[in-house]
């Protein structure tokens, strides 16, 4: 069936878990398998029963593709593969493969060990799940089977994030995952070639935003950090180990140089280890400029940034510390946070509960920590805004666009904009809603040289944008399509040409002369039937007595041959011919030759 079907199982007007089912030319692919971070029960997982009520997922799905390591795109993967059951291939990029299990394990630890949740995947399940992973390189065409192939494109956003093209024959779908169109210090911008997929699936969370410039965000960050250390306070920056931390380090280092600051900056050790471990992966996923910078110096040989020791947290005076984990829920960052929280002079940039405004936090052992330090939440994560989405769609040139992650009511304008400016149809399905796209797959047909030459001989030059009508015969043989001239076809098939003529007699009562009437009928019909051939042989215009024949038997008789003679060099062209002959009762005959 030449159609593409898309069903969001999560995403699709719900920011939370991304999980999209795509059916393309009979192949079924699952895009991402995310966890909804806002729920603590089964609602956090996508509803896999949409895929198939009975029957095994492995039989139904041809493959699963994961775009990047954020939990709202891969968090439900171990649950899906080990607890629901899927044994087929799972495709992702190398950095994603390396980082996913760490985040999944981290998350599992908190859910099970700290929160005591049951019915959660185990460490072993994460390991088993990762065994099914097939890692891919950028721009590498991967054959999933002999019909389905996939290719990863650079997406920016985070380390290892990719956009995927899924192709079966001449039909293709591109899934963007999360991406970013403006490069930053350590990641480039997303890029895709003019692959012209039938459908582009893109996130639209930030489609209705206009982003503040990076420089202003950085300026704000530097200002707050500077103000804090100037008054002797300490700054705690919880970060994930990857990417963003390096970016902020480079920023602080440059700023410290310019302002000639002596305040110490530290990196917690957990961070250094992890970062060095991913150094190799990291470097091939950054752009040229960054690669050069990192070649010149080791990533952690900053002049002002040193490795952190737990004891330093108790040192008096100002300092800045980068610590993991980013959400402040455990580990070193939490320890430091506890120490510094009570002092208003201090500042931290941080996560969840505190973001929601809570100033009193319950720690282990029922201890209550009162947060007096200033807290700032700075978002440096990179998503595409309206401008970015239009850019990407302009690059790929899809026939249609499907938006996920947006609210239907709030997307009317964007939809209009995409449809008008880019001339593509735009879909916005809700969770569980299936969008069906009819496609017109192109079927390659070989054209005989003779036929082509004959058309060219007609004198008109071919124009790329103007389709022209070509008459010929399509021969389908051995899954091979050829377009040849009718005579050629007849010859090959050993058939003789037949001509069929249909005649219709029309009585017109009129006092005018035959010639005049003939002209009137002719021009009237010519106006109505633009394809009416003008090559009316003169012999048809003869007045004079004729004999009436049986209706439909043959042409009305004329003293000369009435039928149009084949014109030299052409076979009889099908279509409507006007042959006029007069009979005493003024009967006009209209002939159609097939």
């Amino acid at each position: 069936m030449p159609e593409i079907r898309v069903t969001p199982l999560g995403a699709g007007q719900d920011v939370g878990r991304s999980c999209i089912l795509v059916s393309i030319a009979g192949k079924n692919v699952m895009l991402d398998c995310g966890m909804h971070m806002g729920f603590n029960d089964d609602r956090r997982f996508p509803d896999f029963s949409y895929i198939t009520q009975n029957g095994r997922l492995t039989d139904f799905l041809d493959c699963v593709i994961i775009s990047h390591f954020h939990l709202d795109h891969c968090g439900a993967l171990p649950y899906f593969s080990e607890m629901v059951g899927y044994d087929g291939p799972i495709y992702m990029t190398h950095p994603t493969q390396a980082i996913c299990p760490i985040l999944l394990e981290d998350y599992r630890k908190i859910a099970v060990d700290k929160k005591g949740e049951a019915n959660f995947f185990t460490s072993q399940m994460i390991k088993d799940c990762m065994k099914k992973v097939v890692a891919v390189h950028l721009h590498q065409t991967v054959q999933v089977d002999d019909e389905l192939e996939i290719k990863a494109y650079y997406a920016g956003h985070v380390l290892g994030a990719a956009m995927f093209q899924i192709k079966v024959g001449s039909e293709s779908v591109v899934y963007t995952g999360d991406y970013n169109m403006t490069p930053d210090r350590h990641l480039g911008a997303a890029w895709i070639d003019k692959c012209r997929p039938n459908l582009l699936i893109t996130e639209s969370t930030y489609a209705t935003t206009i982003r503040d410039s990076k420089r202003c965000r950085e300026r704000d960050f530097l200002k707050k950090v500077h103000e804090t250390v100037e008054r002797g306070g300490k700054v705690l920056i919880p970060v994930f180990a990857l990417g963003r931390a390096q970016e902020l380090c480079i920023l602080l280092e440059t700023f410290w140089e310019r302002m000639n600051l002596k305040v110490p900056i530290y990196f917690s050790t957990g961070l250094t280890e992890k970062a060095n471990h991913y150094y190799k992966l990291f470097i091939t996923w950054t752009n040229q400029k960054i690669r050069k910078t990192f070649v010149q110096r080791n990533m952690f040989e900053f002049k002002h940034i040193k490795a952190f020791d737990r004891a330093f947290a108790d040192n008096p005076g100002p300092m800045v510390v980068f610590a993991t984990p980013g959400m402040l829920h455990a580990g070193q960052s939490l320890q430091i946070f506890r120490k510094w929280a009570g002092n208003e002079k201090n500042m931290g940039t941080v996560g969840h509960k505190i973001l929601s405004g809570q100033r009193k936090l319950e720690m282990e052992g029922r201890q209550v920590l009162e947060v007096k330090m200033q807290v700032e939440y700075m978002s440096f994560s990179a998503h595409a805004d309206a401008k970015g989405i239009m850019q990407l769609v302009g690059q790929a040139e899809p026939e249609s666009v499907l938006l996920v992650h947006g609210e239907a009511k709030k997307m009317g304008f964007l939809r209009q904009k995409i449809e008008q400016e880019l001339r593509v149809s735009c879909y916005m399905p809700a969770n569980g809603e299936t969008v069906t796209l009819p496609t017109s797959p192109s079927i390659p047909v070989g054209i005989s040289l003779g036929l082509l030459k004959r058309e060219m001989a007609q004198g008109l030059l071919p124009e790329a944008k103007k389709p022209r009508l070509l008459h010929g015969t399509l021969i389908m043989k051995d899954s091979n399509f050829r377009l040849v001239s009718s005579e050629q076809a007849l010859k090959e098939l050993g058939l003789a040409e037949h001509q069929l003529r249909f005649t219709c007699r029309v009585h017109l009562q009129d006092t005018r002369k035959e010639q005049e009437m003939a002209l009137r009928v002719y021009s009237h019909l010519k106006r109505l039937l633009p394809t009416l051939r003008t090559q009316v042989p003169r012999c048809c215009w003869c007045p004079g007595p004729t004999r009436m024949r049986n209706w439909g038997a043959s042409l009305p008789h004329c003293s000369r041959r009435v039928s149009p003679r084949p014109l030299s060099g052409h076979t009889t062209h099908p279509g409507l011919w006007l042959c006029l002959a007069t009979v005493p009762t003024r009967t006009w005959a209209l002939t159609s030759a097939l």
Binding site: I210, L222, V375, F413
Partner: protein, 376 residues
């Protein structure tokens, strides 16, 4: 990577004196010449390109800018497009009709008014009706101002075509009735019955619509060297003592006038701006709604200048701005030959030192300047 100039500007902006409290820079997909508030949380912008479809956007300010102090923690520094619409003509004036979901726009080509409706159950701004208000007048378009109590729009290209039209019935409720074809540059509604006008020649007037045309006005200033053009703004009533009219000329002259005696300006100064201004139509002068005696000037180049007019007196003195916003020049990404021009600016209705400014390179800045003077 940033250039030296951009790096040093940012470093400079760290310092409190002469620096910014807050600064946000955005890139729109097309430049705008309008910045119209709706309440204190949203603004309208619109494109003005002549040959393509332009967008009208209703932008919600980043939550950060809406709170008085940083009480909540808002990572969001982004504008959100709350509603959008399309216009096949360039939009050069846009006014929101207070307490309604209606917008009135005018632009080129043609002398027309277009009424828009901000739909409730979707995010689309729909064009409701278009009326032609006079014969096409070359490159001129009607200036607009709206009355709030009964939705009416004041419009006019020249003094002769100045009219007040009721938005429900489209009936004209007031006309100037004069044959004077002086071109208008500003219209401003002051209350339910009065409005002010400023002509490009510098002629200013206050009109009471309860009477037939009999404006309180000044004569046009003596014509200077050709090409001079004026614009003006009147302070809101109850914004403090002092002259309420400010009028600005393309040669850099800024006059302060009192409504009681428009014949004799209270003072007139020379602003340090590049003259002649490259695009006289972009000139704009606005009074700060939250500060006494402060006004902002833009349209001469890529800067916005803030002045304190308290101590101004006499005629012809040179003055210095209290603060100059150079962001549009320093953050110019276009690398073109022409530096960007500030197309319009506006003050935040509640935050006293916050302004929005937009430039010809499609940048939109929101900035909160710090008063460089030591507080007494």
């Amino acid at each position: 990577m940033r250039t030296e100039a951009q790096e040093s500007w940012l470093a400079w902006s760290q310092r409190l004196g002469g620096g910014y409290q807050d600064f946000h820079a955005f890139d729109l997909s097309a430049p705008t010449r309008v910045l119209e508030w709706i309440g204190d949380k949203g603004v309208f912008i619109a494109g003005y390109e002549s040959l393509k479809k332009n967008e009208i956007l209703h932008l919600m300010l980043p939550p950060r800018l809406s709170v008085k102090e940083n009480q909540g923690l808002f990572p969001e520094r982004d504008f959100k497009v709350s509603h959008g619409g399309f216009s096949d003509r360039a939009i050069l004036e846009l006014k929101h009709v207070p307490d309604t979901r209606l917008l009135v726009t005018s632009g080129l080509p043609g002398c027309y008014l277009r009424l828009w409706h901000i739909t409730e159950d979707s995010d689309v701004i729909k064009a409701v009706s278009t009326i032609s208000v006079q014969e096409k007048a070359g490159d001129l378009w009607p200036r607009l101002a709206v009355f709030s109590m009964v939705p009416r729009v004041l419009h006019g290209v020249q003094l002769s075509s100045l009219q007040v039209v009721d938005l429900e019935s489209w009936k004209t409720t007031y006309s100037s009735g004069v044959t004077d074809s002086e071109e208008l540059s500003n219209l401003q509604v002051l209350d339910g019955d009065t409005f002010a006008f400023c002509c490009t020649s510098g002629r200013l007037g206050l009109v009471d619509t309860r009477q037939p045309w009999a404006p309180l006005e000044n004569p046009s200033p003596s014509p200077g060297s050709g090409g001079q053009r004026w614009c003006a703004e009147v302070k809101d009533r109850g914004q403090g003592p002092g002259p309420c009219f400010s009028s600005l000329c393309t040669d850099g002259q800024l006059c302060l006038l009192d409504a009681r005696d428009l014949f004799h300006p209270v003072s007139s100064v020379q602003c340090p701006v590049t003259t002649p201004s490259p695009d006289p139509e972009l000139l704009r002068v606005t009074w700060a709604p939250g500060l006494d005696n402060c006004l902002a000037v833009s349209g001469f180049d890529g800067t916005v200048q803030v002045y304190d007019v308290t101590s101004w007196e006499g005629m012809g003195s040179q003055v210095k701005p209290l603060f100059t916003h150079r962001g549009h020049i320093f953050l110019d990404e276009s690398k073109g030959d022409t530096a960007p021009l500030v197309t319009t600016h506006t003050w935040h209705p509640c935050k006293p030192r916050t302004l929005l400014s937009s430039a010809s390179d499609a940048s939109l800045h929101v900035w909160d300047w710090v008063d460089p003077r030591p507080s007494c």
